[in-house]
Symmetry: C2
Subunit: 332 residues, 2 copies
DNA sequence: TAATTGAAGTTAAACGTTTAACGTAAATGT
DNA sequence: ACATTTACGTTAAACGTTTAACTTCAATTA
């Protein structure tokens, strides 16, 4: 089972009758060589099955050709999409992706990020990172890009316009003639509140105010649990907007379990436009937050930073409203 | 913006007035030291903010403390769950996870795996890998664990019992009195056929045969596209089983769009029990394939292999039927 | 023709760790 | 009292690359 020691650059050099420097430069395409030498090296490489040792290379260059991606929860399709996008552009640039799901949190995000930081050339960090870790992130000396949250301390960020997205939903509901509109929100951090602001502003234009219900985690289950409080407490809202599609699906499910028809009795909408949204009964109105493009943009931004090129500081993606049957004029 | 050179073990040694060997052994807890020395080292480490350089360490030890996880598509909740599970146990053992989504396939899985193989101590490889790459995987000299597919060439595998799972669904449908049962399958590789076998055997016990419809990729869209052919061609089946929950959701959605009621007109079931299954209207009957446990088990198995301990060759997880409203006695 | 440039390769030092082999002094056994 | 072990540290050689500085020789320029 024991495979023999992998060939080193020295083996190749010896077999080809040249110095290791020559082989190195050839491999990295740093210099031209005479056809004979080139052929000999190529033959030696093939013959020995030589592959670079990334660790050795990293040690001298100080680069790992790896980037870290810290996300909240891979199971949330929004984050899965981000991984997808980031993975695509990383592969295209010959970078590897070190993914860490910080929900699985044995010793604090900070410790995880610290461990991660030495193994990567740069870091893409998701929204819900505690403020005190941010100071540290700014000082690690490695490029960092945020996504989903506002930039701080000069750290660039990539995100979609949550205010705009919520404003669109709000307007959409108002145009449908809705009067009592509830928001099941997740506002733990300031930037998470922008959705509430957008919604509030849209409603204000029609002299309306959202009924806000706070949850502690944006999941299917949390949406489900919130439903009865939101739908049965006091006068029933005509529409309810979830912090994201998961929350919205939870709400929708429980609403139906309570015997309410959607959208006739209550309309429901969410954010992210996760793939299943379209497949619900009724299909869920959502706002496409361009998750995958967020992943791509974040990775692109990070790679330019790693290359020490200047990049634009912030990238703001335009969300798109996707109206579906879960919000529809009550009289239709 | 330029941060100063990170402290090396030599800096620490000098500051503490000891040799680098001492520091190294202290860091790695390989030896006991006198309280004074210990204190001096600790002070130096803290004072300088010393962290190990993983690349340098890797070079001499030959270990990277990183494992590679090659999956088909992060967006599929089944795979997301596997990442979750694998991530959890990796973190617990201080390993990092190099995730690669091989659907994003610029230059072939083989090339990706080759590149990956030098950066990791071991590899977890998902099901749909071409046979010719497997020979190569067996020879790279690094531990490899499969998941989802059968083992080959002595490579251990972790999977759930697809035959059993399908058999359970089949029996469930038969017990509900279903007669015409369709299977929308994805049978490109041999091991993917076990679900069909399980279903076939369960039906055979009632002298029934499944109607098989093949799709080319197990996705929401594929399920949706398959629906009309399966449901409208000839006599309509009373139940249709999708290769996985995504396919089942696609089928269900299109069936409803065609005006069919579920389960009254046609029952639907799938595999994986993805989180949203429970939230559908009606909730989708599925089989929990223990995705997350698969990820955990695969990682555990890999880590024992990396530690050169002997582990059991194959791990077979027991699926669990989760009956829900999408399959229900027509007369209920 | 002599001086200058350029191309093709080499030498050797570094990168930051680990670890086998080796001291040295104190503790233990006989 | 002497040999042997044990505990605590050190020395120095690796690990597999890259790269600045250098050589050599042929081609170009003045």
């Amino acid at each position: 089972m024991q495979t023999k020691r992998p060939a080193t650059i020295r083996d190749v050099a010896q077999a080809a009758g040249v110095s290791t420097a020559t082989v190195s430069k050839f491999i990295n395409r740093l210099q031209r060589f005479s056809p004979e030498v080139e052929a000999r090296i190529r033959a030696a490489v093939d013959g020995l099955g030589y592959r670079q040792n990334p660790a050795a290379r990293s040690m001298v260059t100080g680069q790992t050709r790896t980037v870290g991606l810290a996300i909240q929860d891979v199971r949330n399709p929004h984050f899965a999409n981000i991984v997808k996008g980031a993975n695509r552009v990383a592969l295209a640039h010959d970078y590897s992706l070190l993914v860490i799901d910080i929900e699985e949190n044995p010793s604090g995000e900070r410790a995880l990020l610290e461990a991660l930081s030495r193994r990567v050339d740069g870091l893409i960090v998701s929204s819900r990172i505690p403020e005190e870790s941010i100071d540290w992130l700014a000082e690690i000396g490695k490029p960092v890009v945020f996504f989903g949250r506002l930039s701080r301390l000069g750290i660039p960020c990539v995100r979609s316009d949550g205010y705009q997205a919520a404003y669109m939903i709000g307007r959409h509901l108002v145009e449908l003639g809705m009067q009592r509109i509830a928001y099941v929100g997740f506002t733990r951090a300031r930037w998470n509140a922008e959705r509430l602001h957008g919604l509030t502003d849209a409603l204000a234009e029609a002299n309306l105010t959202p009924i806000v219900h706070e949850i502690d985690t944006p999941s299917l289950e949390a949406g489900e649990r919130a439903a009865s409080a939101v739908l049965l407490g006091g006068k029933r809202p005509e529409a309810v907007v979830g912090y994201n599609d998961l929350v919205a699906l939870g709400l929708m499910h429980e609403a139906q379990a309570l015997g309410l028809r959607i959208p006739e009795d209550v309309a429901v909408a969410g954010f992210d436009d996760i793939p299943v949204a379209r497949y619900m009964q009724p299909p869920l109105t959502s706002v496409d937050m361009r998750s995958e493009q967020q992943g791509e943009a974040a990775m692109n931004r990070l790679l330019t930073a790693i290359a020490r090129e200047e990049g634009e500081s912030d990238v703001l993606l335009e969300p798109r409203l996707i109206p579906r049957a879960s919000t529809r004029r009550p009289l239709d």
